[in-house]
């Protein structure tokens, strides 16, 4: 009998033939999938259609220097499935998934707000957590430093 993780991996492997991706079952109930940003929407559609996924848990993004890494977390059949893609720092765009997963709307606004990653064709890219009149850049980028004064031990 195959496990839930194997089942999800097998379906994905079969449906994503021709797409360049790497599926890792990291441990029980944790799958990480590395893919190119061109393929993000295609793979997201496969999650929605072939695995019946409706719920997007959240989106994490981080600054890795020349690139930004973006992780889309889903909870599918009691397995946490993470799609991992990157976009270059000088062209920080990625397809919006809101048309497939409406629950992504706030999470995409968040990565736009704090890291400056632009989800293309997002319906409403207002700021989420920073003030409306904020002009201090993107705080979660590694080269961002708090303005002036004592940072109480911050690097």
């Amino acid at each position: 009998m195959s496990s839930k993780e194997d089942h999800i991996r097998d379906i994905l492997q079969e449906k994503t033939k021709g797409i360049n991706l790497q599926i890792t079952v990291k441990r029980d109930r944790r799958i990480f999938i590395n893919l190119l940003r061109e393929d993000l929407k295609k793979v997201a559609e496969i999650l929605a259609e072939d695995l019946g996924t409706q719920h997007i848990s959240t989106i994490t993004a981080r600054d890795t220097g020349n690139n930004f890494e973006i992780l889309y977390h889903f909870f599918i059949d009691h397995v946490m499935v993470t799609l991992r893609t990157t976009c270059p720092r000088n062209e920080p765009t990625v397809d919006s998934l809101v048309s497939i997963f409406p629950g992504a709307i706030l999470y995409e606004r968040e990565i736009h707000d704090i890291l400056g990653i632009v989800p293309t064709k997002h319906p409403d890219l207002r700021r989420l957590v920073l003030p409306e009149d904020w002009s201090g850049g993107y705080p979660l980028r590694k080269d961002w430093k708090p303005e002036g004064g004592d940072t109480n031990g911050a690097r």
Partner: protein, 393 residues
């Protein structure tokens, strides 16, 4: 008739979690809702990158004053996963005990707030009095009523003695009796039924699409509970039921939480009766190897997700937190559509968004230059009067 826009919020200095709702009205019906957050954005994720893991232990605990333990436990679980260690069994049981005590006091707090929002202050007084029983137990074991500082990376910092075990069990007997009474009140009392039944509807298909979590999702019939679906601490071996209802309204959200109190009591009794002997903590290195981990727990308000990326030093490379209230915000907008203005307080309260957010209400009529500023209390009073005039007492 032209639509009227009513901004609610964002804040009052004495209350926590300010939010701003702009409510578009057609007569008294809500046609659209826009939510703005960020008024208490403290930059914790950025700050965590500059603190050691031990310092962060105390920082994450201060993300929330109510579900602090969910955050700190999630953090320690992530670090422990990257370290590749499993903590002593006794420590797992004590962590589960605190998870459930926290759920108890959070649900009692919520029940009181919900009662207050519909003008049922007797319920508020009762539940907040009973909540003190839980707070006393938390203080007895950890030394703190909130922000218990119980966790260390690799275990817990304080043990539970036999004497304390006895007191916890006595507390559960008292709370079970009280909650039986609240269950009767919630299911039969007209004061609640008239304001909660059929109000703030969230259909299951909408809840799924908008990725709702926790009691809000379970009250729309979605059978999800991270404690069962992706067990952590000692939930794997602890028997309990996942509570769902299919009424999809505010009443359903009351029922789910009241019944969850019984389940928490059941879990706590099991833990106290089966508490394994042994160590409560283990030694761990200061530097955490390079790696990543994602974990989630069922906080009182729903799924709380933490992601950790470590880089081999004593400070994290990136830490990401997704709280349940953020996940439920898109659903509030759906619940409010087609409701009456008078239902705003209870519908918003029903997702348990670390309430109290909106003390200031700005009544703004389109085309007028002088918006009228009123307080949240007045909206609450308006809601009560509105229902009274409808013939409800």
């Amino acid at each position: 008739m032209a639509h009227v826009k009513i901004p609610i919020g964002p804040q009052h200095p004495a209350l926590k979690e300010p939010e701003n709702f702009t409510i578009v009205l057609d007569g008294e019906r809500i046609v659209d809702v826009d939510i703005r957050i960020g008024y208490t954005h403290r930059g914790i994720e950025k700050l965590m990158e500059t603190r050691t893991y031990t310092q962060n232990l105390y920082l994450v605990e201060r993300i929330c004053g109510i579900c602090s333990y969910a955050h700190v436990c999630n953090f320690t679980q992530n670090v422990e996963e990257i370290l590749g260690i499993s903590i002593p069994k006794r420590a797992e049981y004590i962590r589960t005990l605190f998870y459930e005590l926290e759920r108890l006091h959070s649900h009692y707090l919520w029940l009181g707030v919900a009662g207050h929002e519909i003008g049922f202050d007797t319920l508020f007084m009762y539940t907040w009095q009973d909540r003190e029983v839980v707070q006393d137990l938390l203080e007895m074991i950890s030394g703190n009523r909130v922000n218990y500082a119980m966790n260390a990376i690799g275990g817990v910092r304080r043990d539970v003695s036999d004497e304390q075990k006895k007191k916890v069990l006595e507390g559960m007997d008292y709370l079970e009796k009280r909650t039986q009474y609240y269950k009767e009140v919630a299911l039969n009392e007209q004061t609640i039924l008239a304001r909660a039944e059929g109000v703030g509807i969230l259909k299951p298909e909408v809840a799924k699409r908008l990725a709702a979590v926790g009691p809000t999702a379970r009250a729309s019939g979605i059978n999800v509970d991270i404690r069962r679906d992706d067990p952590y601490a000692s939930y794997q071996e602890t028997p309990f039921e996942v509570i769902t209802t299919d009424t999809c309204d505010v009443l359903g959200r009351v029922v789910v939480r009241v019944l969850e109190i019984f389940e928490s009591i059941k879990i706590i009794r099991y833990l106290m009766e089966h508490l394994p002997a042994g160590e409560i903590t283990m030694k761990v290195p200061r530097k955490i190897p390079e790696g990543e981990a994602i974990n989630h727990v069922e906080a009182p308000r729903g799924e709380d997700i933490h992601y950790l990326r470590s880089n081999g030093t004593e400070k994290p490379e990136r830490y990401k937190i997704r709280t349940p209230t953020l996940a439920n915000l898109p659903s509030i907008a759906e619940m409010l559509k087609n409701s009456y203005l008078a239902d705003v307080p209870i519908v918003v309260a029903a997702i348990d968004p670390c309430m109290g957010c909106m003390d200031r209400v700005l009544l703004l009529k389109e085309g007028k230059d002088h918006p009228e500023l009123i307080e949240w209390e007045r909206l609450r009073a308006y809601a009560m009067k509105w229902y009274a005039e409808k013939g409800w007492k």
